[in-house]
Amino acid sequence: MTARSDAADDLIISAARRAVAELAPEEEPFFDEVARAWRAGNRSSPGSSVGFGVDEILMTELFLQTIAGAVGEVLVVGGGLLARRRWKRRRAGSDEAQPATEEAPAAVETAAEEPPAAVETLVVEEAAGRDQRLREAVRRHAVTLGLTSEQADLLADAVIGALGPDSP
């Protein structure tokens, strides 16, 4: 399991808070405590060997898990694509006997090779693609964890909304 950064946790908690507010408002008063426990990591539960036998999970926990799983998946896949694209460009440059200087940062290199309009298009396209991938991932994770299809859609909307430009 990959360790999440604080920034990613903040992002997930922010999205989950918004989802809880919309989908499970009765859990809102306890959101901070639950999020703190979630951030502290997974610990085994006491008394589970003689427990009721059926897990009862808060929607808050469920949302946090769903979003964390989806975000993790999208970031890893997205990061992988980006890294592969950069690696291809580097290989192409070296094949034309135009090796990049070690000091030149990749961003500068990219900017020098592509016109500004294309970069903007790429960013917009990538953002749209990311949202789409994130939406699908959230839906998939949510259904896997036991939410209904409708709940999964609502959760996906809430997550996309929370991660959008107008999000806090």
Binding site: F30, A37, L58
Partner: protein, 1004 residues
């Protein structure tokens, strides 16, 4: 106080009785493994063997000598104190460790919950929890408190520190739905655990399910690390130990699952069915391998809500498991005292009591519930006709099979099926042991079934008349439990004493010996308890009881008939002043008393339900006592001196025989007491316990309109309706009161029939019994009274001059006779092997230095140039029951040659011996190391110039011993006696006697 209409949680006390048994098994087995193979173990074995040498047990029970046996016991008990202390200490440590878990696990739970206290407050949940708590009547020490816990707690559970109140932990997700039925279902499930009073003990179950295997492996590993050797090094022990641990782990896991099923049923019974089933229908992760799963699967739980799965309480499997655990506990205790079991006279009663305790604890509460609420104790509602006395065969058969299975589950010596409790070793003995075990299990379960029926009947009677339970219900239940343990222990003790009998005569002898043991009188607890329970049936507000004419008539007829028969037998018919004959005749009188008493039981108890049977048992024992008293009076009147023995031989013997007969026949009596009309024709309706107590039998045959009016009479009619018979007329003061409810004419008629049967039975018994008992050998009867100690055989008789030349060529017939002659001088604890004819080439022994191989293999004999005409060998050794460490053997070898032996024979031998003062030879295994042999000077036998002896000492890492070779050459013959003694000195008198006998035999 719970309200009458509130469902009661099924107590799982029987589960914890089985748990206690399992802990004892684990602890004692661990202790035994820990002790095995130690130096102390070896020293103890040697000490016990030496005790046997000093105080040899008689060959036959007829030669039993009390002072000598007691001396042996004292000697052996001292020798095995270390063994007992070691095993008991480890047992206590394991029990303490398991006990500590009941404290540590809840503390660990609390510690892990420490961050949850006060963090999540949900007022609505707290209010709903409080309402449910009141609704379920949980107060005082059972009043639970609530803790709402956030992540990572996702399952509700209940925990409790010792002495504290239960703490119900609810996940926040459940608490936030306090208005939801799921909340109530979850809380009700947890309340089911609290109501069953199993919160604190469940920690021990958790620990046992996890710790049994590691504990045993740890103990075995510690022994191996410490250089385990001998018995404990066997793979068999490791396998058996692991089997015990796995069995206990399986049992603990099964009991944990059972606990959840019971809590589910409680939740459903209190109104949470739909929500519970909905919760269980949610997808759950697959559990571990089923037999070791500590939680039942959701599928099993849904099915078990209405249909019992696994063990049905009070059913065949339940009793079988109880029987297995009881027999295993018995074997374990027996093995704790494995070295002293036969030396401490009280061990059989300890073992018997343990079995009775486990069976009573594990079965009686369930059987009482089954008798009181047949539909709720594990039976499906649509099978309620399978209740009451005719279904007692299930626990009876279960206990019988369970004791047999448990008895042979882990035999101490699998090769000859040697186990502990009620065992006769060997394959033939296994058949008898199986019979004894099954008979004992069935009888104990039968006793418990009778107590359960009567106990449930008391409750039902009070509820029918007053609408409330008997105020002293707990005390009555305790009385029944004590009676169950005492009567069970008494019965098992009797079976233990009787089952090894070789034949009928031996059984009579053992039975007589039994009457001198007061432990058997523990069985009196059963009639006393039944009398108490019968008395408790009398409801103050009930109608006055009419006299019990039928029972009294039969009782007095039996006492008069039996008493008169015994008195006449004792005075007019067979008066004697010969002590042995008097003892023999006494057996007949005691049997007369016991059989008359049994007839009372059969007549009074037949087909009149549990109350009738209870009354019959009380009456029967009273009749046996009264007839015994008449016997005593007759003996005193005949001029015999009053003594404790006279009291034992008359009253005590009559009571004991009566008790043994009644207890052994209890399953049959239960069957006979089954009321008529109960069975296939009974409807599926729920049958009340009152109805089972006689209302459906002859009562329903009573003509209409003959009963008294009144509330109790209406109860009887209702009871009859319950069992589906023809509508019964009110029959007096209630169900179960068969004799007192029946119209006077019918009662008198029954009494007359009973008296007639009794008199006829008495006449037949008086005619047949003496013939049977006179077949008992007088010698067996002697066993009942002390006899003088057995005489040790004299060592030797003077050598008389022979008429034949001992130096002649010995013919085969003479040769066999000569080597067998030494048998006559050997003590009783020696046994002889068949004579072997012909030369045997033994495997050659290696020696270091190699020069000593000649002496080690008697090579000098080859230098004599004998042409063997014949060789004969007689072997004798001390008894080796159970693998005695201390042992001796004697081998007499006679070789006859075609020509006279050379004159230099002795010189050759002496020369060989002189060349080799010491050598070593490979030992049995790496642990024992090589055997160091050293030659020491031997004495001269004094049987001519061609006789000599050589003495050797032996020593390895474990044992020491010595052997002596005596050689005598006469003409054509060479006689060699080799006497070997391990861990004991050579007995020169025995060797001398054997030599003289052998040499004398050569001259005859």
């Amino acid at each position: 106080m719970t309200s009458p209409d509130r469902p009661r949680a099924t107590s799982l006390g029987w589960v914890y009785v089985l748990l206690g048994g399992a802990v004892v098994i684990i602890g004692a087995t661990a202790g035994r493994v820990f002790y095995s193979g130690t130096d102390a173990n070896l020293a103890g074995s040697i000490a016990i063997d030496r005790c046997h040498r000093r105080f040899p047990l008689p060959e036959s029970v007829n030669d039993w000598n009390e002072p000598q046996v007691r001396a042996l016991f004292r000697c052996a008990v001292d020798a095995t104190r270390t063994s007992q202390l070691t095993v008991l200490t480890v047992t206590l440590l394991v029990v303490a460790a398991i006990g500590m878990l009941t404290v540590l696990l809840p503390m660990a739970d609390r510690w892990r919950l420490r961050g949850q206290f006060g963090r999540y407050r949900v007022p609505a949940a707290e209010a709903a929890f409080g309402r449910l708590r009141e609704e379920h009547g949980l107060a005082g020490r059972r009043q639970p408190t609530l803790l709402v816990a956030g992540p990572p707690v996702r399952q509700a559970f209940t925990t409790a520190l010792p002495g504290g109140v239960p703490l119900v932990v609810l996940p926040l997700a459940v608490a936030l739905r306090a208005d939801h039925e799921r909340f109530a279902a979850t809380v009700r499930h947890e309340f089911g655990h609290i109501a069953a009073r199993d919160i604190r003990w469940v920690a021990a179950l958790r620990g046992l399910s996890l710790g049994a295997v590691p504990i045993m492996l740890l103990v075995v590993a510690s022994r191996y690390a410490a250089g385990l050797r001998g018995y404990a090094a066997d793979l068999g022990l490791l396998a058996r130990t692991t089997l015990v641990a796995l069995g206990v782990a399986l049992l603990a896991a099964a009991l944990l699952r059972r606990r959840e099923h019971e809590a589910d049923r409680y939740a459903v019974a209190t109104g949470g069915e739909a929500a519970l089933l909905a919760a269980l229908a949610a997808p759950t992760p697959p559990s571990r391998w089923r037999p070791f799963a500590r939680h039942p699967s959701a599928t099993d739980r849904i099915r078990a809500v209405h249909t019992p799965v696994g063990v049905t309480e009070g059913g065949f499997v339940h009793a079988l498991v109880a029987g297995v655990v009881a027999a295993s506990v018995a074997n374990t205790i027996d093995q704790v005292f494995i070295f002293t079991g036969m030396y401490v006279t009280d061990v059989p009663i300890v073992v018997s009591s343990a079995v009775a305790l486990v069976l009573t604890g594990a079965l009686l509460p369930s059987l009482i519930r089954l008798a009181a609420h047949p539909g709720s104790a594990g039976s499906a509602p649509d099978s309620a006709e399978r209740v009451a006395m005719r279904t007692w065969w299930r626990p009876v058969a279960g206990a019988a099979v369970g004791l047999v299975l448990g008895g042979y589950l882990w035999p101490s010596h699998p090769q000859d099926l040697r186990t502990g409790f009620l065992n006769v070793p060997g394959w033939e003995g296994a058949a008898r042991s199986t019979l004894a075990l099954s008979l004992a299990g069935a009888a104990v379960a039968g006793i418990l079934a009778l107590l359960s029926e009567v106990m449930a009947g008391v409750d039902a009677r009070w509820r029918d008349v007053t609408g409330a339970a008997h105020p002293g219900r707990r005390w009555l239940a305790a009385t029944a439990a004590i009676a169950g343990v005492c009567a069970g222990a008494s019965l098992l003790f009797a079976v233990d004493a009787l089952h090894g009998a070789a034949d009928g005569a031996d059984a009579v002898t053992r039975g007589l010996k039994l009457t001198r043991d007061s432990w058997i009188l523990l069985g009196l607890a059963l009639p006393i308890a039944l009398a108490v329970l019968l008395r408790a049936r009398r409801v103050p507000e009930g109608l006055p009881r009419p006299p019990v004419r039928g029972v009294r008539a039969v009782f007095w007829a039996a006492v008069c008939t039996g008493g008169a028969a015994v008195v006449a037998h004792s005075t007019l018919l067979y008066f004697t002043l010969d002590h042995v004959r008097w003892l023999k005749l006494g057996v007949e009188r005691v049997w007369l008393a016991a059989l008359t008493a049994l007839a009372v039981v059969l007549i009074v108890g037949r087909r009149s339900g549990s109350t009738g049977l209870a009354r019959a048992v009380v009456s029967g024992v009273a009749a046996g006592t009264a007839i015994g008293a008449a016997h005593l009076g007759a003996e005193l009147a005949a001029g015999r001196r009053p003594s404790v023995f006279l009291l034992q031989a008359t009253i005590a013997a009559s009571v004991v025989f009566t008790l043994v007969l009644i207890l052994l026949l209890m399953p049959l009596l239960l069957k006979l007491a089954q009321p008529a009309g109960r069975g296939a024709e009974a409807p599926a309706g729920r049958e009340g316990s009152a109805g089972r107590e006689g209302s459906a039998g002859r009562e329903v045959e009573a003509p209409a309109g003959q009963g008294a009016e009144g509330p109790a009479g209406r109860d009887a009619g209702r009871d009859a309706e319950r069992v589906g018979a023809e509508p019964a007329e009110p029959a007096g003061s209630g169900p179960g009161q068969v004799a007192e409810q029946r119209p006077a004419g019918e009662s008198r008629s029954a009494g007359r029939r009973g008296v007639a049967t009794l008199v006829a039975g008495g006449v037949i018994a008086a005619a047949v019994l003496p013939a049977l008992i006179h077949a008992t050998p007088t010698a067996n009867v002697r066993a009942a009274v002390p006899s003088p100690p057995p005489v040790t055989p004299s060592v030797a008789e003077p050598l008389s001059p022979g008429v034949k030349d001992p130096g002649r060529v010995i013919e085969p017939g003479d040769g066999r006779r000569i080597v067998a002659a030494a048998r006559d001088v050997l003590p009783g604890h020696w046994v002889s092997e068949p004579v072997v004819e012909g030369h045997r080439d033994e495997p050659r022994e290696t020696a270091d230095p190699p020069a000593c191989e000649g002496l080690a293999n008697d090579d000098f004999v080859d230098r004599w140039g004998m042409t063997r005409r014949g060789e004969f060998s007689g072997s004798y050794h001390t008894k080796d029951e159970g693998g005695a460490v201390v042992n001796s053997s004697l081998i007499v070898t006679l070789t006859t040659a075609a020509e006279p032996l050379p004159a230099r024979a002795k010189a050759d031998a002496v020369e060989t011996v002189a060349k080799c003062p010491a050598w070593s030879t490979p030992g049995g295994n790496a642990r024992t190391g090589p055997i160091e042999v050293r030659v020491t000077p031997g004495g001269e036998p004094g049987l001519g110039e061609q006789s000599w002896s050589v003495r050797y000492t032996m020593q390895d890492n474990l044992l020491s011993g010595s052997f002596i070779d005596v050689w005598v050459i006469v003409g054509h013959n060479v006689v060699r006696l080799r006497y070997t003694a391990i861990e004991e000195p050579i007995d020169p008198a025995l060797l001398g006697g054997a030599l003289l006998r052998t040499m004398t035999a050569m001259t005859i």
